[in-house]
């Protein structure tokens, strides 16, 4: 029995639309990456990694901003990871089936998508206002707050994937619960949790909004976390919004390095995760 023409046309139209939608999505990705590559590659110079951010009209690099970003990301991971892993452990193991775990799991999903600018305002109110000045510590705390729900979610999910037989085997050997978690479950879930942390790093590396009023920016070299600290996203923001061509060039160079870092990290993590599965 032949399908009537009207139904066939609807079918073809829907499929043409779906294909076009996918092409539409991929075109933007290609366009944005192409622009960043083109503008960024032209702006790459060795002095990018050896000189400080310049005043308007002068040449310079982004060394202090790279340093500040690296330090704040590292500190954010150091603060956010243990708390996130512990909370994720509670949700999947020690607090399993409790009402608290259900509520926290729900709330964590909301934190995961909460506007990052509000996180920045929160840290401003809590830390910057209390201390009386902007600081790298405040920036790292804001980044840790962005990272935290990501780590909680991946820890919970990867622990849940472990079959209960593994836990039972541990208990049968007479291990107390915390040793089962630490010595059996964490080992089994290690690569999955690590994947989550790395994806979290890729996410916080590009976060700008939470740093605007916490770490602020610093035109000069500063290794102190107790004062305003230069960082790549805020430098890109300020330089791109400025009227100076030299600053625009530096902003593109920063954008290129940032995008390359984030994308390479994302792709590597996905490749590793896939290899782990096979």
């Amino acid at each position: 029995m032949a399908i009537p023409a009207r139904r066939r046309v609807a079918d073809i139209a829907a499929f043409a639309f779906a294909t076009a939608a996918t092409v539409f999505g991929l075109v933007w990705l290609a366009w944005i990456l192409w622009t960043t590559l083109l503008q960024g590659a032209a702006a790459l110079t060795p002095s990018l990694f050896s000189q400080m951010t310049p005043p308007p009209g002068a040449s310079g690099g982004l060394l202090n901003a790279f340093y500040g970003s690296a330090v704040m990301i590292l500190l954010g991971v150091i603060i956010g990871t243990p708390i996130g892993v512990a909370a994720g452990t509670y949700l999947a193991e020690h607090g399993r089936y409790t009402r608290l775990a259900a509520i926290v799991s729900f709330v964590n999903d909301i934190l995961l998508s909460a506007p990052s600018i509000v996180i920045g305002l929160f840290v401003y109110e809590m830390v910057v206002r209390t201390a009386g000045h902007f600081s790298g510590y405040a920036g790292a705390l804001a980044l840790a707050m962005i990272l935290l729900p990501i780590v909680v979610r991946t820890t919970e999910e990867s622990l849940r994937l472990i079959p209960d037989q593994m836990r039972e085997a541990g208990f049968a050997l007479g291990l107390p619960r915390w040793r089962v978690t630490r010595q059996i479950l964490y080992k089994a879930a290690r690569s999955a949790i690590l994947t989550g942390i790395l994806l979290g790093v890729a996410r916080i590396a590009g976060e700008t909004a939470p740093l605007l009023f916490t770490a602020l920016n610093n035109q000069f070299w500063s290794s102190s976390l107790n004062g305003p600290l230069a960082n790549i996203p805020v430098v890109i923001f300020q330089y791109a919004m400025s009227p100076y061509d030299e600053w625009h060039t530096l902003a593109w160079a920063g954008a290129f390095v940032l995008t390359a870092f984030v994308l390479i990290l994302n792709i590597l993590v996905r490749l590793l995760a896939r290899r782990g599965k096979n």
Binding site: A87, G95, F106, R177, A202
Partner: protein, 326 residues
């Protein structure tokens, strides 16, 4: 596995040292961390409300309905940024929802199997690109493109139409609500499409096979089996995208123009809640000014909280339907 002496030594029965006390301590630590997550969300809400109390007390409802944002006169009405946030998010959803459903359909039913993984990853990479990159690209590349090619066309063809005309008239400067909405739409696509793809592929095969057996075309399977079956989750995905669009800051800050003028035209610069905070917070030199911006943050937080809660509840509903507890 090769058991070494060290490994087997780990597996001796619990002694008093590693027994009940340590177990309880470990449980308490993890519970404390879980409480901290809860406290952080509560803390954000309370501190935003507390920081914004001066603005709410001073202006009352006029803070939400007032159209003037006058720094000099210390008069703050947030109608323009609220309006800008809603309009740009609406444009974003109008673009992102059909496109995302199309992508999900393409990836579950149309694409050759070996291309599905790479295409899905490529679409998800759209979400990995930092929003500041979207902002720069929007400001230097996309806004000039809109000004040169798209907006003059809209002016000529839609600007003189009866009802929708005022939406598309105005100077084609590239910076404005339409450009910001489109950029937001692109940013939201990966979030909506990845959820949609996941739930589409969770539709039980026998349901689809029955439809095929009854002679359905593939479009009829989508519109009469897949979409009705996954409706609540697809709505959840849309709300998830909305939550993202409402709170997105940097990309919008670059291309919206930071103008506190109310305009019906989508081509005109405007403001959004997040962009106003990002642009003005470090310049806010009076208590009332700063409090007004924090009050904006409070509004944004409450609205996104509600939207994301709806999203989560809708997504949970499908999971329950599928018999999954998580």
């Amino acid at each position: 596995m090769n058991a070494t002496a060290a490994d087997t030594a780990e597996l001796v029965p619990p002694t008093r040292k590693s027994g009940v006390g340590a177990d309880r301590a470990f449980g308490l630590i993890t519970a404390a961390a879980a409480w901290l997550v809860l406290l952080l969300l509560g803390g954000v809400a309370v501190s935003m409300a507390w920081g914004g109390r001066l603005a709410f007390q001073t202006f009352g409802w006029h803070f939400v309905t007032g159209k003037d944002w006058d720094v000099g006169a210390e008069k703050f009405g947030a109608f323009v940024p609220i309006y800008g946030t809603l309009v740009t998010s609406a444009i974003a959803l109008i673009i992102a929802v059909p496109v995302s459903i199309g992508i999900a359909l393409f990836l579950t039913d149309i694409a050759p199997r070996w291309t599905r993984g790479p295409i899905a990853i490529a679409i998800e990479l759209l979400a990995a690109i930092p929003s500041i990159i979207y902002g720069m690209w929007g400001l230097f590349i996309f806004a000039p493109f809109m000004a040169a090619h798209v907006e003059p066309w809209l002016n000529d063809h839609l600007g003189s139409k009866a009802v929708i005309g005022p939406l598309f008239s105005g100077p084609p400067i590239g910076i404005g609500m339409l450009t910001a909405g489109i950029v937001l739409g692109i940013m939201v696509i990966p979030f909506v499409s990845s959820v949609a793809r996941e739930v589409f592929s969770a539709v039980p095969a026998p349901l689809k096979e029955s439809a095929v057996a009854l002679g359905s075309t593939r479009w009829e399977i989508l519109s009469r089996v897949t979409l009705p079956y996954t409706r609540s989750a697809v709505i959840g995905a849309v709300f998830l995208g909305l939550g993202r669009a409402l709170g997105e800051t940097m990309a919008v800050t670059f291309v919206l123009g930071n103008a506190h003028d109310l305009s019906l035209s989508l081509l005109m610069p405007s403001n959004s809640i997040a962009a106003a905070i990002a642009n003005e917070f470090t310049e806010a030199d009076t208590e009332l000014y700063r409090s007004s911006l924090i009050a904006l943050g409070f509004l944004l937080f409450v609205v996104t909280f509600i939207v994301l809660t709806i999203a989560k509840l809708m997504l949970l509903r499908l999971n329950r339907q599928l018999g999954r507890t998580h």
